[in-house]
């Protein structure tokens, strides 16, 4: 369910690294726990962000959840579709529901994050 080619955090974000760019999103588990997502707050392109800091928030009808970036760098692109259609985060969290693209300043960071198997094991213990 959680793609093998992504890296994950215990805060339920994922990152896909392609060259010097990282694409960030939230996991299937995260969107399921939140429920119907109605609002996404994201940083503007050009913003410098540090790993593990809050870069925005995702809100469902019931709850607010911070987004922590799994990697450091500069925001180069924001998923503008989410402003109009935040529900795509529920429908396709690993695809069209991506949040931001980052030009990585610390390319080694991603490799130290959780693999899909490690993340699944973590989610298993958290929800038991």
């Amino acid at each position: 369910m959680d793609p093998e080619n992504l890296r994950y955090t215990k805060e339920h974000e994922w990152v896909r690294v392609e060259g010097d760019t990282g694409t960030i999103g939230i996991t299937f588990h995260a969107q399921k726990e939140l429920g119907d997502i109605v609002y996404v707050d994201l940083p503007k392109p050009g913003t410098s962000i540090q790993q593990k800091t809050t870069i925005g928030s995702v809100e469902s009808v019931k709850a607010v959840s911070d987004i922590y970036t799994p990697v450091s760098g500069e925001v180069v692109e924001v998923n503008g579709q989410l402003a109009e259609s935040p529900e795509i985060l529920n429908k396709d969290p690993y695809g069209s529901g991506w949040l931001v693209k980052i030009k990585l300043s610390e390319p080694d960071e991603a490799a130290k994050l959780l693999t899909a198997a490690e993340y699944q094991a973590y989610v298993g213990t958290e929800s038991s």
Binding site: V38, D41, V61
Partner: protein, 368 residues
């Protein structure tokens, strides 16, 4: 070592909720479904068709005896003497200082029998409060465990429930009830609800609840019924601007402040809290509940601070997205003179001041 999970109370439908895959939460000590598949779909089902809620966590208190009315009227803000058998009244239980013990529904069953529906987490507190003030020839019974309660709500609620009962439902007026039977089991059928839609609340013995739940879902299938959780119940009541205990009302809030003067009958004789209410009415309230709509990007939520002209002015009692109106709405306390509609306010959304404007309530009103 892992801490032991808290011992939560369960309704007779707990196993059904889990089988339906509901997300369960600790709601005031009760293990309750917050949503099944999608809160939004559940919300829309109630507005457009029909939804079914397990509200068996709600408490019931029965008051009987020659002076049952005197006790009820001494403890509640509304005038229970105006009720006829089969009628329901929204009312308040107050402390001497005028703050809310709870908000309740008073059902008049007979001249010497009143049936109170109270908030789940307040049940024992309410019972103690009533017993403490019972200087009358009346008995008070904490009867929560004797009843399950199912709420069938939405424009097709009547069509759904009518298939299961010989009691003609159409003649039951809003805020009236009939004691009859549903699928052969004795039940109290009240035309009440907490959603802003037409609908019924059915009280019955816990042993029959699971069976009736299934029957209602089958009867409502042709109308597109959905089982609904407390999440949708909350967004629905917020759109209807109905008060929720511990949010709009609590021990430090009076009916005048909460905009609930219409459930207070100062002319009915003495009742607990009356003196404090009279004094406050004389002095004037300092704060009032107001509705608001976010105009900036952001969602004002329960507990967020409200500012006016850069200074703290109040707090959000309930707030969130309105699925029906597609706006972010809420209710908040503001200084009395600022609480009229059309005022620009700012809601502090996680450190950012986001613009909002005060608006009339309810946010949503059904067309009859």
């Amino acid at each position: 070592m892992a801490p032991l999970p808290p011992l939560l109370k369960t309704t007779p439908l707990n196993a059904i909720h889990r089988r339906l895959g509901a997300k369960m939460i600790d709601f005031g000590g009760w293990d309750m479904p917050v949503q099944y598949a999608s809160l939004l779909e559940e919300h829309h089902a109630v507005r457009q068709r029909v939804g079914l809620f397990d509200v068996s966590h709600m408490g019931e208190i029965e008051i009987r005896g020659k002076e049952a009315l005197r006790l009820v009227n001494y403890l509640t803000t509304n005038d229970a003497a105006r009720l006829v058998p089969g009628q329901v009244q929204y009312s308040g239980l107050l402390y001497e200082h005028g703050g809310f013990v709870d908000d309740i529904l008073v059902h008049k069953v007979a001249d010497e029998h009143y049936f109170l529906c109270v908030n789940a987490s307040n049940q024992d507190k309410d019972y103690q409060h009533i017993v403490t003030h019972n200087q009358f020839d009346a008995t008070v019974e904490n009867a929560g465990s004797h009843y399950a309660q199912l709420a069938v709500q939405g424009p097709r609620a009547l069509d759904t429930l009518q298939k299961l009962t010989p009691v003609p439902l159409a003649p039951i007026g809003y805020y009236h009830f009939v004691d009859g039977e549903v699928r052969g089991s004795p039940a109290r059928i009240a035309r009440t609800g907490y959603t802003g839609e037409d609908g019924f609340e059915v009280y019955l013995a816990p042993s029959g609840a699971a069976h009736l739940w299934d029957e209602i879902l089958v009867a409502g299938a042709e109308f597109g019924i959905k089982p609904c959780g407390l999440g949708a119940r909350n967004t629905l009541r917020l759109e209807a601007a109905m008060a929720l205990y511990d949010h709009e009302i609590h021990a430090s809030i009076t009916p005048w402040e909460a905009g609930l003067g219409w459930i207070v009958r100062m002319d009915k004789g003495d009742f607990v809290g009356r003196t404090a209410l009279a004094e406050q009415k004389e002095r004037g309230v300092t704060r009032k509940l107001a509705g608001f709509e976010m105009t900036g990007r952001g969602i004002g939520r329960d507990g967020y601070e409200v500012c006016m002209d850069g200074a703290g002015a109040g707090w959000v009692t309930s707030g969130g997205p309105s699925p029906t109106l597609n706006k972010n709405v809420g209710m908040c306390y503001l200084p009395r003179e600022q609480a009229e509609t059309g005022r620009r306010i700012q809601v502090m959304v996680r450190g950012q001041a986001v613009d909002a404007v005060t608006v009339p309530t309810p946010f949503y009103k059904r067309t009859k």
